[in-house]
């Protein structure tokens, strides 16, 4: 069966089915799937049995039951008589709050530090390098505990709160910053800012066309910035220049008015920002260095000024190298926010943990917050892939 005798008596070896790589691969995969399914079935049947023995329910019906526990920070309204699903939502909002603010602040700080490392000033460069080396080699958990301690234990009582900048108070009750009063003028200010943006964009377009036609450049950036600041300012003044901020005031033992950042939230924000900024700084520095020196030389040899060289030659190429690892750091901030459970900030994992312990349905609770994180990660991954494909340099 495995040999074919041809006419002239020479044998042609056909090969047996056993050695056909396609059949083999199907065989291996079938075996693997069987093993995986088998293990899965084993685990799930144990789960069901163990739950029956302990009288724990299965399924997500518990989400509609009353939660019965209080949460320290509730950006959306919540009372202990709300259902568990609402409690999860509060956790999710807390996670997003600290993650989004952390991303913005860490990016700002990281870019500044990253560029500083390339500074011609030796002191500045070494300080930035020292900051990065120090912060990257101490676990985030320890840093969070230090920040939490600094605010909760070492900061003074509200009566003697530190006042570094007018309107900002740091005490062991947290950080108070001024908030914006609810005056209709501010709606107009915001509208004015948006209008300024539109006008600025229009000016930029006009300037580009004029440069293409006549060669004269135009400082559309500075003009646009002046508009963006000036127009809302004019509107604000015209509206009678109302006192814009609600300054926190000490009444009795605590502050009233303004925004409060609780000690836990402030600690999370500071810790995440300082830690992640060090990684972002390295990414920014790496991206700028990766643009080969020859590019700068060619630009200089052509007589291009450093401003144009930076904007048109260096930054576009550097950003290509910076953005993918940057988004992975953003993802890390979101995942690292789960460390809040160590200092008691009630974000998603911490609340999910509480719910799991209270209902005994830990599997469901864990599955919920894992699913949320997975959703966030996968969306960012897919977004990154789309971006990469669009931006990759075209090659032969």
């Amino acid at each position: 069966m495995t040999m074919d005798v041809a006419a002239a008596g020479t044998a042609v070896r056909r090969g047996s089915a056993f050695n056909d790589p396609r059949l083999r691969s199907i065989f291996y995969q079938a075996v693997l799937l069987l093993v995986v399914i088998g293990i899965g079935w084993f685990l799930v049947s144990n789960l069901i049995h163990n739950r029956e023995v302990r009288g724990i329910a299965t399924g997500y019906g518990f989400l509609n039951r009353e939660a019965g526990f209080a949460i320290a920070e509730t950006p959306i309204s919540y009372t202990p008589s709300d259902p568990y699903s609402r409690a999860f939502l509060v956790g999710l909002v807390n996670t997003l709050k600290v993650s989004i603010l952390g991303i913005i602040l860490a990016t700002l700080l990281g870019v500044v530090v990253g560029v500083s490392r390339l500074s011609s000033n030796w002191l500045v460069a070494k300080l930035a390098a020292g900051y990065v080396d120090l912060v990257r080699n101490i676990p985030l958990t320890v840093q969070l505990l230090l920040w939490a301690g600094l605010i909760r234990v070492s900061a003074p009582a509200p009566r003697q709160a530190a006042n570094p900048v007018p309107g900002v108070f740091i005490s062991n009750r947290g950080i108070q910053v001024p908030s914006i009063e609810n005056n209709p003028i501010f709606l107009w200010v915001v509208i004015a800012a948006l209008v300024a943006l539109v006008i600025g964009w229009g000016i930029a377009r006009w300037a580009r066309q004029r440069q293409a036609a006549t060669g004269q450049p135009f400082h559309s950036f500075w003009v646009g910035l002046a508009l963006f600041i000036g127009l809302p300012l004019v509107v604000w003044l015209a509206g009678g220049a109302p006192a814009a901020f609600e300054i926190p005031e000490l009444k009795g033992f605590n502050f009233q008015g303004g925004w409060t950042l609780s000690p836990e939230f402030a600690a999370m924000l500071l810790g995440l920002t300082v830690y992640t900024a060090s990684f972002i700084a390295e990414i920014v520095r790496g991206g700028i260095l990766a643009v080969s020196h020859g590019q700068t030389e060619a630009a200089r040899a052509l007589g291009l000024h450093s401003g144009v060289t930076l904007r048109r030659i260096i930054l576009p190429q550097a950003l290509r190298m910076i953005i993918p690892p940057m988004t992975s750091q953003y993802l890390n901030i979101t995942k690292n926010s789960s460390l809040a459970v160590v200092i008691g900030y009630p974000e998603l994992v911490s609340i999910g943990n509480t719910i799991g312990n209270q209902t005994g349905q830990v599997v469901e609770a864990i599955s919920i917050f894992m699913a949320v994180y997975l959703f966030i990660s996968l969306s960012i991954s897919i977004g990154m892939n789309v971006y990469n494909r669009r931006m990759s340099l075209r090659e032969r």
Binding site: V142, L146, K335, V341, M370
Partner: protein, 392 residues
């Protein structure tokens, strides 16, 4: 030779011009200061601001940390309460906390008489790590060494060779339950054993992810993306909480083992991406050459591809290990007392509560020393590996 010759006529130099030292104003310490600190107006401003901040901040910190602190009991008969009182009264740091609690921080709840065992275990683990950095030792012997040393370290800590359901007791060593393990040996053990066991798993995952068989590829990709998409703390919770639920009654894993398994699963997904990066950087010609020589799939991987891929990935591997070393601090959430957890345990002793700064700064210092050295090594390795592959 002065410029007495014509600049455009035919010309032959009659003697070689010797090398001269550069003019004074462009080198030397004064020139350095001028170029690096004061070259432009904003550099002058920055230097001034930094100098001012340094003067305001550094001397107070130095006096807090090194000049004024309470180092320990002033006389041998002082009780801890006295020392705490002295600390509260002083303006400097309370390093007496470290003095009092260092045993807890370094060894957890391990019985005092048996300290030689965790010390020895840490020494052999450290020796293993250091000898792994010597390139000459890289090879099969090193793999065997890892296995032997790790088993030896666990045996030393436990008091018997753990073989799952069977423990082979070592005469002369009393059994110390894993619940009492803590501090530095726990941190080192969790991360090194995590790396050792995750590594082979990650190689399989990376190869599987590049496989032509769709079922295998899908499984590996799913595992990697799933584990990388969630925080470590959720994996730890999952392992610690779901283990008893998913296994038949009677099968019990102690807390330490659950945490270790979680760390292995987590690290393997990240290491798999590192190995995949290494595999991707190998030119296609290597695979083709191996195939044309008639090597089977596993021979090709073992002899040609993996040695090159792993070599290239080593700096990234070390970085992942540094991350894993720092991530062991999360095990406080599942009831284990690693270095950080033990320090917190010390702080939970109510009279020592306020001295969190000293406790966490000390832990930070320990971590910094370990992690910084490892990252310097990784940078050194990267430079060494690049010299071989750098093109002029």
């Amino acid at each position: 030779m002065a410029a007495t010759h014509s600049f455009t006529e035919p010309f032959v130099a009659t003697q070689e011009i010797p090398a001269e030292p550069p003019p004074g104003s462009t080198t030397g310490p004064i020139a350095w200061v001028r170029q690096n600190l004061f070259s432009t107006w904003y550099n002058i401003v920055l230097t001034a601001v930094i100098a001012y901040l340094a003067i305001r901040l550094i001397p107070p910190f130095i006096s807090w940390a090194f000049i004024d602190p309470v180092w320990g009991p002033a006389t041998p008969d002082q009780t801890p309460a006295d020392v705490v009182a002295a600390c509260r009264a002083a303006t400097g740091a309370c390093w007496a906390f470290v003095n009092e609690k260092y045993r807890l921080i370094f060894f957890g709840l391990y019985p005092f008489d048996e300290y030689w065992r965790p010390i020895l275990a840490m020494l052999i683990l450290l020796g293993l790590a250091v000898s792994s950095t010597v390139r000459r030792f890289w090879g099969k012997r090193l793999i065997v060494a890892w296995v032997v040393v790790i088993v030896a370290a666990i045996t030393l800590m436990y008091g018997a060779i753990p073989l799952g359901f069977l423990d082979i007791p070592i005469p002369g060593l009393t059994l110390v339950e894993t619940g009492k393990w803590g501090g530095l040996p726990l941190t080192m053990g969790l991360s090194m054993i995590g790396l050792a066991l995750a590594f082979p798993f990650s190689i399989l995952l990376a190869l599987g992810r590049r496989s032509n068989m769709p079922a295998i590829r899908t499984l590996c990709v799913t595992y990697i993306e799933l584990v990388r998409g969630v925080p470590l703390i959720t994996v730890l919770f999952m392992a610690s909480v779901m283990f008893p639920l998913f296994l038949p009654e009677g099968w019990n894993f102690n807390y330490l083992l659950r945490a270790q398994v979680a760390i292995i699963m987590f690290t393997a997904a990240y290491l798999a991406e590192v190995v995949r990066g290494g595999l991707q950087s190998i030119p296609k010609g290597q695979f083709e050459a191996a195939d044309s020589l008639g090597l089977s799939y596993w021979q090709k991987q073992r002899l040609i591809i993996l040695p090159q891929a792993l070599r290239i990935s080593i700096p990234a591997l070390v970085n992942t290990f540094i991350g894993s070393f720092m991530d062991t601090t999360l095990v406080i959430m599942v009831g284990l007392f690693d270095l950080l957890g033990a320090a917190r345990l010390g702080l939970s002793d109510s009279i020592w509560g306020p001295f969190y700064k000293e406790a966490y700064l000390f832990v930070s210092l320990l971590f910094f020393v370990f992690c910084f050295s490892m990252s310097k090594y990784s940078q050194h390795l990267e430079r060494y590996l690049n010299i071989g592959t750098r093109r002029r």
